[in-house]
């Protein structure tokens, strides 16, 4: 495995007596897309917050881009591009004001990213009129697209994208996926992707990590998850469903068959 962007050792987090993350050894190679998967409540968000330095692990440690986040959380702040699960933007500000806030917060001059922003707007079909409307007046897909640009435009080496295509129409979701691939393949960025959308995972993920009840039950290349969890069907979705512990081949609703 090549140089690592993220390496955790026995990373554990308790909330009082509740074990949220149980001794996970995460390894995310640089320049790859790593999909962190798991059913709801598996500990994905807690893990991501520990990587961001927002939560202090109960035990174990995590190193992100050479920074020991467990002991020096301040050093990692502002070094990771973040697209949270919900559209984290100010609804009373316009998309342009939201973007300029993120740029100013990261001390990036607008002139330096003008061309890149133009490319994002063009690719994601964001018009000039849209940029000057209040964020609250935008459709869900437009809001998600702007939030994605806010995460990507900061030009960080490591991006954490939580459900990046959630709520997007088919075209925009495709464009977002192509941008993510471009960022990794052409710019050498590392992406930690958390998503439940199979098409995202199938198209983007180089590596997968599966969390279940706080434990990392699988970590490896995308092909390996199919070999391990769906050797019969060779289907990626089946492999994930099986890994989650659900029944992949039985859909009993209304007597339907797969």
């Amino acid at each position: 495995m090549s140089e690592l962007m993220v390496e955790s050792r026995q990373l554990t987090k308790y909330f009082n007596s509740l074990l949220a993350v149980d001794r996970i050894d995460l390894q995310i190679p640089k320049g790859t897309i790593y999909a962190l998967l798991g059913p709801n409540g598996a500990g994905k968000t807690t893990t991501i917050r520990m990587l961001l330095g927002l939560l202090q692990p109960t035990s174990g440690e995590v190193v992100v881009n050479g920074v020991n986040v467990s002991s020096e959380p301040k050093l990692i702040r502002g070094e990771i591009g973040l697209l949270p699960q919900y559209s984290a933007a100010y609804y009373d500000l316009t998309p342009m004001q939201n973007l300029s806030f993120i740029l100013e917060l990261n001390n990036i001059a607008y002139e330096d990213v003008r061309n890149a922003l133009g490319e994002y707007f063009r690719t994601l079909d964001i018009s000039y009129e849209l940029l000057n409307k209040p964020f609250s007046k935008l459709s869900g897909g437009e809001q998600r697209s702007i939030s994605f640009i806010m995460a990507a435009i900061t030009n960080k080496d490591f991006l954490i994208l939580d459900e990046p295509t959630s709520g997007l129409d088919i075209a925009r979701a495709k464009y977002i996926r192509s941008i993510i691939k471009y960022l990794v393949e052409k710019q050498g960025k590392t992406v930690l992707l958390s998503s439940h959308i199979v098409s995202d995972l199938e198209e983007l993920a180089d590596y997968c990590g599966i969390l279940k009840q706080g434990k990392l039950i699988f970590q490896g290349k995308k092909g390996e998850i199919i070999e391990q969890f769906a050797p019969d069907t060779k289907d990626f979705e089946d492999a994930i469903v099986n890994a989650f512990g659900a029944k992949a081949n039985v859909i009993p609703f209304m007597g339907g068959n797969k």
Partner: protein, 403 residues
């Protein structure tokens, strides 16, 4: 070595964003328009509070019967009649100067040569005021006494040149020198305590529009915490924004007063200062600046108290509950200060608004003692402590969102 300006850039960005959010249409109407409207309703509040206090006015005259006319007696009769309609003042006639000087409120002493000086016109007659209360009430009461005195003299000396009566202010003997901060401190004591209380009460409602609860609702906390190098920058930015909001509200408050007083045909600036109870005969521009600075200081502490509580309590109701402690402290401070405006108060020694108030009085009085440094250290300490607690609060896992 190049200085790292990341924190400065980040603070500027956060501040710009917070100020932008403050000046949204709906928030701006509430924060800046509300006080203006409220002033029409609250304009009579200061007089309402002040009239509820009953104070004794001790009167002693050593004036002798000179040429058959006892001016001192005439003055006492007129003053007793004048204040008989005012339930807040009780006039008490005493027969010795010691009793007057021992009053806990205020008193007037007319010396033995008073009538002689009026009739003979050899020198300006004087009477003595003893001001133990040192409040804005003293000013208005002594103004009334001066006016009545002149009226009495004018009646007695009809068709003659009126002598210029001079008043001499004497400190009461019941208070120690330390307790007496002088006429300037007395002149700002009541207005300052009233302004601190009113401004805190007035501005507490605007916090919910700019505080962290709003960030939690918009789910932007995670992004802010992940992107900001030092989390206390978030607290500092919110605090500065809250101060801008408070000062804007205060301006609106003043404009509301001006508008309200315009309706009652008293549009001049003196009328405005009178309304705040500020005696501009005693105070100068520097004193007004000190009052302003310490009002801002009290607002800063009030904002930080609200923020520290709000960010440490996860429930949604916290944004409504958190200003209550701040208002409660301000109210407690105000009502204790009302009873004894210029004396050091032991019951308020742990009240941060009192520290601001007391420090302002000491500075205006020019009393640069060790007390000043103690209060200054306490204020700096509480600000640092509250910033620390507010920062710890926003870092809590449970406060990331309003679930």
């Amino acid at each position: 070595m190049k200085k790292d300006k990341t924190h400065t850039h980040q603070l500027k960005a956060l501040l710009k964003k917070d100020i932008r959010l403050l000046f949204r249409k709906r928030v701006a109407i509430f924060v800046f328009g509300g006080p203006f409207i409220m002033m029409f309703l609250l304009i009579g509040l200061p007089s309402l509070f002040s009239s509820q206090q009953t104070m004794n006015l001790l009167f002693c005259s050593d004036d002798q019967d000179y040429l058959g006319v006892n001016v001192g007696e005439e003055i006492i009769v007129n003053i007793t009649a004048y204040f008989s309609l005012d339930s807040s003042i009780e006039v008490e006639i005493v027969d010795n100067l010691t009793a007057v000087k021992g009053t806990e409120h205020f008193g007037v002493y007319i010396p033995s040569n008073f009538s002689y000086l009026i009739i003979s016109e050899v020198a300006a007659p004087k009477y003595y005021e003893v001001d133990a209360a040192q409040s804005l009430f003293s000013d208005s009461i002594f103004s009334s006494i001066y006016a009545i005195t002149n009226n009495v003299i004018a009646t007695i000396l009809a068709n003659r040149t009126l002598p210029n009566v001079q008043t001499v202010i004497e400190p009461p003997t019941t208070l120690t020198e330390d307790q007496i901060l002088g006429p300037k401190a007395a002149a700002i004591a009541m207005p300052l305590s009233y302004m601190i209380f009113l401004l805190i009460a007035l501005n507490s409602g605007s916090y919910s529009n700019i505080g962290f609860a709003r960030e939690k609702r918009m789910r932007t906390m995670e992004l802010l915490l992940a992107s900001t190098k030092k989390h206390n920058l978030l607290v500092i930015s919110k605090t500065i924004t809250a101060l801008v909001a408070s000062l804007g509200s205060t301006l609106s408050y003043v404009l509301g007063i001006i508008a309200a007083t315009s309706l009652s045909n008293s549009t001049n600036t003196e009328g405005l200062f009178d309304l705040f109870g500020l005696n501009m005969d005693v105070l100068n521009a520097w004193d007004i600046i000190v009052i302003f600075i310490f009002c801002v200081m009290a607002l800063l502490i009030s904002t930080l108290i609200t923020m520290a509580i709000d960010s440490n309590i996860t429930r949604e109701a916290s944004e409504r509950l958190s200003p209550l402690l701040s208002i409660g402290l301000a109210m407690f401070f105000y009502f204790v200060a009302l009873t004894n405006p210029v004396s050091a108060s032991t019951s308020l020694v742990i009240n941060p608004f009192y520290w601001c108030y007391r420090l302002a009085l000491l500075i205006v009085a020019g009393n640069f003692s060790v007390e000043i440094f103690i209060y200054l250290a306490l204020i700096i300490g509480i600000v640092a402590l509250l910033v620390f607690f507010a920062t710890k609060g926003i870092q809590k896992e449970k406060t990331l969102y309003l679930e």
